[in-house]
Each structure stands twice: as structure tokens, then as C-alpha cells.
Symmetry: C2
Subunit: 339 residues, 2 copies
């Protein structure tokens, strides 16, 4: 008998036949290659312009490289992909459009800001488990130079960075998710995020804007599954950074959810935080994207991880909403990976 | 025995238990209320500022109104929604974020440009049919004033419009999609779009940019299903307008696919085309969104339609990509509605 995905608790979707991560790939830039995870990235391009005329085109190239690497590792042709789930930070997601159009696959465009790696993975797994697709790709990426000039200041301005600010990762990640076969890990359950607005308005304090959403999604996941944080080798948030992580842990404490023992944050993991430039840590879609699709998947493949909860966080802002003085709502989507 | 969604042909997903459109809602502005479909819209706001300080906030209000109306018609509380699938044209989809955050539902952010009504419906139906959700909302909207100043010229500039240009619809649409119960129509099959680039670069000729994508998706749907265009009461494209519709029909002719007998385009349907302002017709996410969620659903509810193919089209451009001289790739997603 074929069993469908089913809901456990109010919010969480349990896969009936956990889709497999058949391949994964990552590509990063110079600063990321100088951080503690350097050895785990598949592709390092220290010329972050990628030889392109624009930073936006370079961002597309990073994304294309991650997807291509993931497909190669999965021994899969792009013609066999049933859908690519992708999004990015650029206005109207042009990094995804121009980075992926040559692949000729069906394209499911997403916008989840920096939560996109979890959103794309959760939707791809849901579509594979439900029978709509046999092979899907989940991907995202970001670029420091295109993001900085779009959301904050022109690079040439040389604006001073505040201690709570984060450094947008130049990097990308992709997973190939299939309904059968072998791979590094499996996707066992997903919880989609709600929009949570704590009325933060400082575009240099993304961690604080996203922390309440991460706490909301993680607490709903644990309520639904009756699991304990100690059941996981790692509970990983996307890019809260040092400031946002502490806020999230405090909010979780208040709900009686002790995540302190095995919480990690991709924004803290990816850089050497003694580097003053990065301030509170990394951010951007490519932060959790490149960490999940390199370090985490390679540790699964090596048998060093068995169960990981991945909760990527996004700040739902735009240059327009910032200029209009609106708040920065957050969202966080959660994916449970098992061996 | 529970049967999952299954793939027919190479690309198309057939629902195992066609999800039902339990509710639908629409909201439009002044110009739309003067067009031939006026009587079908649920909410007409002739003050297109909605009393807000910004056009972007007004766009959020239109979207919220469509979703709220659809939920009311479905006799459903927002707390019972498992996910809202929504996107819009604004940078980083802020109309969706700020229009929907108060509903407190899980949020799946999409970017499909003007194809969003079909993308959101297709994904929502797939997640409902696959068992991941019991009740999902698909929604989108657009606003002439926010789109015009973002993509083209400030309104105050009073730029002359070219004959191929289209008028962004101020409006929104939403469907409530459930796994059981009764409703106006059912979603029987979906085909996701591929990114198709015919290298159009004129941001005032969206129809030409999107026509090849519509032809690609429709021909893949008909190949997969072995259906005939004559099987449908209507085959509806999103917002090709007059120019793009003729191009799409010509491209389809070349593939031996005769769509001329029952093809309609929301961009042509929504306005009185003798109005010089609208030039080649309507466009924007809210064009196909408001037409599908008003006229089409009401005709289904009245028993006047039995089988409709809805193929919304999107132009994957941004202000940045236009300024950088890039092409405008298109995408089109397709949903088969049955009684």
C-alpha cells in the first residue's frame, strides 16, 4: 500500500517515504574560503566577480555551479530533473532566473529571503514524497557585493559596519532530492514557517528580526513531534549570527525549550568571527545554503551525523520597505534530516 | 488504498484525488471596475490608494482582501489554513509579506512574476493532494502604481505608452484549496513551467517575452495528456495581451497545436481595449489572479464551465536586469480545472 505524506501535530509534515539527498553541491567566494569550513566547499572562486561584468551575473554563476556540482554528484542529468526550487535575495530573484535558465528544467521560483534553502528543500521533498516529482533540486545563493549595494550602501561608499551587522555570504548551495536510491541523508519531516513580526526596523540587525521566527518554527516542530532537542546531533539555524542566536536561545528558554546544548548557526560557523568585517557573523541565502550543502552533507556522508534539524531564517524586507520605514518581519522553515 | 499524485507523460502531474476549490475571492481597482468583467469581482475599491500612505501598502490591502473573501466564502478560519502560497511583483515580494502576516498562517513565498496565480495554485494543489496539507490558499496581486514606478517610470513623469505596452492590473485573487468537501471546481492536473528566453529586451513588450513560455508549457501539457484543445471550454493564458496572444497562437500553430478556437487571455478579457491607456491589454500578477478568482470560478459555480486550462505567464525581469540590458525570459505554469 502506498502511504502519503501525513501531518503530525498541527503543523509538521512527516514524509511517508523519506526522500533521499542524492547529491549536493556548493560554491563560495574568497572570504568564505578563509573561514573554518573552507575544506568542505566543493568550489572556491576567489575572484568573486567570476569574470562577469556585474555582481548579479557573478551571483548567477555561483548558483549555477552549486546546482551543476550537485547534479554531477548525483550522477543526474538536468533533463531528468522534474523541478528546480530556487530563490535568492535579488529583486525579482534574477540570480535564479539567469543562473538556471540554461538547464532547461521546470522552474519553481521561491522567495523566502535567507530562509530559502530550507523552503526549497521542504517544498522539493514534499513534492517528491507526494508523487508529483521523482527528482527535484533545491537551491539558493547570495553575493556580498550585489546584496550590499541593493539593501544597504554602494560598496564604494565604504560605510562603517555596526556590531550587530552581518556579512552577506558569497556562496550557493544545492541539493538533488529523489524518491529512491542512495545518498548522504534523507528528509524525514518539514515544518513551514509563519511570518513573525517583532517590529525590528534596523536593517543592520537581521539576527534580531529573524530570531522570533526561528523560535516559533522550532517550538512548533518540537510540539508536533514530541521530540527532544537532545535527540539531534545538531540543531542548526540559518543566519542568526551571534546576536540573533543568543536572542533565539533566550526566547526558546522562555518557552521551556532548551536548545543551548546542540544549537549551531551557519552564520557563526562559516566565518572566523575574530575578523572584524563580519561583525556578528554571516547572512544571506547562501550562508545556510552553502553550509548545509557542504559541511553538513559531508558529515552525514562520513557517518558523523545521524539526525539534524535545519531551520533557515529569512528577513522579509526590501529596499522599498526599509525606505518606507516598515518593520522587518521574519520567517523560518525547518527540515529534519536523518541518515 | 490511498493513491499518490502521479506523473503522466514527462512533465504533467495528475492529482489522485483532485483538490477542491472551496473558496475564491477577488479585489480590484477603478479601471478594472470599468471593464467587461466588473460584475464578477467581489470587491471594488475605486480609491486605489486604499487610504494608505504608499501604493505598496495599498497593494497589500488588495491582496489581504482577496484572501479574506476567499476564506469567508470557504467558511474557513485563517487558523485552519496549513499554508498560504503567495507572491507578487514588488521587490522581495513585500505585498505578500505585509498583506498576509496578520493572518498568522504558514507562509510559502513564491516568485513567478505574473505567472504566480498558476504557480501558487499548482503548488498548493500538489501539497494538498500529496497529503502535506489539508487546506491551502493560493494568492497573488499587483498594483498599477507600485509596478509602474518600480519597473518603468515614475507616475508623475507621464511617459507615453507604446502600442505593445500593457496596463498592470490593480487587483488580486485568492483560492482556498482543500482535500475534501464541495466547491466551485477541482484541480485535476498541473504542469510547471520552464524558463524560456526568446531574448526580448523591451520592457514594454511583455507579451512577446512571455508567449514562447506559454506555448512551451501548453504543448508539453497536451503532449503529456494526449488531450485535445477542443476538450476544453476555455484555454486561458495569463496576461499575454493582444500582441502576445497572437504570437503565442502563431508559435502553437507551428507546433501543430490549434488553440485558436477556444483561447482567451485574461489581459484581453479584463479591460475594454478601446481604452487607449491599456494599449495591448492588462498585465501583472493580479490580472490572471483576479480573472481566475472571479469570472472563471463564478462560471464554474454556475455550471457554465466544466473544463478549463489556465496557463498564467510571467516575465522574469527586474529593474536591475533591465538596466543591465539583459533579456526578459518568460515562464508559464498550467493548471487544469474541472467541475
Amino acid at each position: 500500500m502506498i502511504i502519503m505524506s501525513e501531518r503530525i501535530g498541527r503543523y509538521t509534515v512527516k514524509m511517508s517515504n523519506p526522500p533521499v539527498v542524492a547529491g549536493y553541491g556548493s560554491a563560495v567566494g574568497k572570504k568564505e574560503s578563509e573561514g573554518p569550513l573552507a575544506e568542505y566547499f566543493d568550489n572556491i572562486f576567489t575572484d568573486t566577480s567570476m569574470g562577469e561584468k556585474t555582481w548579479e551575473a557573478a551571483e548567477s554563476d555561483y548558483l549555477n555551479t552549486a546546482v551543476t556540482t550537485a547534479l554531477e554528484r548525483a550522477l543526474t542529468q538536468s533533463g531528468d530533473v522534474d523541478g528546480i526550487f530556487s530563490g535568492d535575495l535579488l529583486d525579482q530573484c534574477i540570480a535564479s532566473t539567469f543562473g538556471l535558465k540554461e538547464l532547461g528544467a521546470q522552474h519553481i521560483g521561491l522567495f523566502g529571503a535567507c530562509s530559502t534553502m530550507a523552503l526549497s528543500t521542504a517544498l522539493a521533498a514534499t513534492c517528491v514524497d507526494g508523487g508529483a516529482m521523482n527528482c527535484a533540486v533545491a537551491a539558493t545563493g547570495s553575493h556580498f557585493c550585489s546584496a550590499e549595494r541593493q539593501f544597504r550602501f554602494p560598496l564604494e561608499y565604504g560605510g562603517k559596519r555596526t556590531p550587530t551587522s552581518q556579512w552577506t555570504v558569497t556562496g550557493s548551495g544545492a541539493l538533488v532530492i529523489k524518491n529512491k536510491g542512495s545518498g548522504a541523508a534523507h528528509i524525514n519531516a518539514v515544518t513551514f514557517g509563519r511570518i513573525v513580526d517583532f517590529e525590528i526596523t534596523d536593517a543592520n540587525n537581521m539576527g534580531a528580526a529573524m530570531a522570533p521566527a526561528a523560535c516559533d518554527t522550532l517550538s512548533r516542530f518540537f510540539n508536533d513531534t514530541c521530540a527532544s532537542p537532545q535527540d539531534y546531533d545538531m540543531i542548526i539555524t540559518g543566519d542568526l549570527g551571534q546576536v540573533g542566536s543568543e536572542l533565539m536561545l533566550t526566547l526558546a528558554d522562555e518557552k521551556g525549550l532548551d536548545l543551548r546544548r546542540n544549537h549551531h548557526d551557519c552564520g557563526v560557523m562559516i566565518y572566523d568571527l575574530s575578523d572584524k568585517d563580519v561583525a556578528a557573523g554571516g547572512s544571506g541565502c547562501g550562508c545556510s545554503g552553502s553550509v548545509l550543502c557542504s559541511y553538513i552533507m559531508k558529515k552525514f556522508a562520513a557517518g558523523e551525523l545521524n539526525k539534524v534539524l535545519f531551520c533557515a531564517t529569512g528577513a522579509l524586507m526590501s529596499p522599498t520597505s526599509s525606505q518606507q520605514g516598515l518593520t522587518i518581519p521574519g520567517v523560518a522553515h525547518c527540515v529534519e534530516f536523518i541518515r
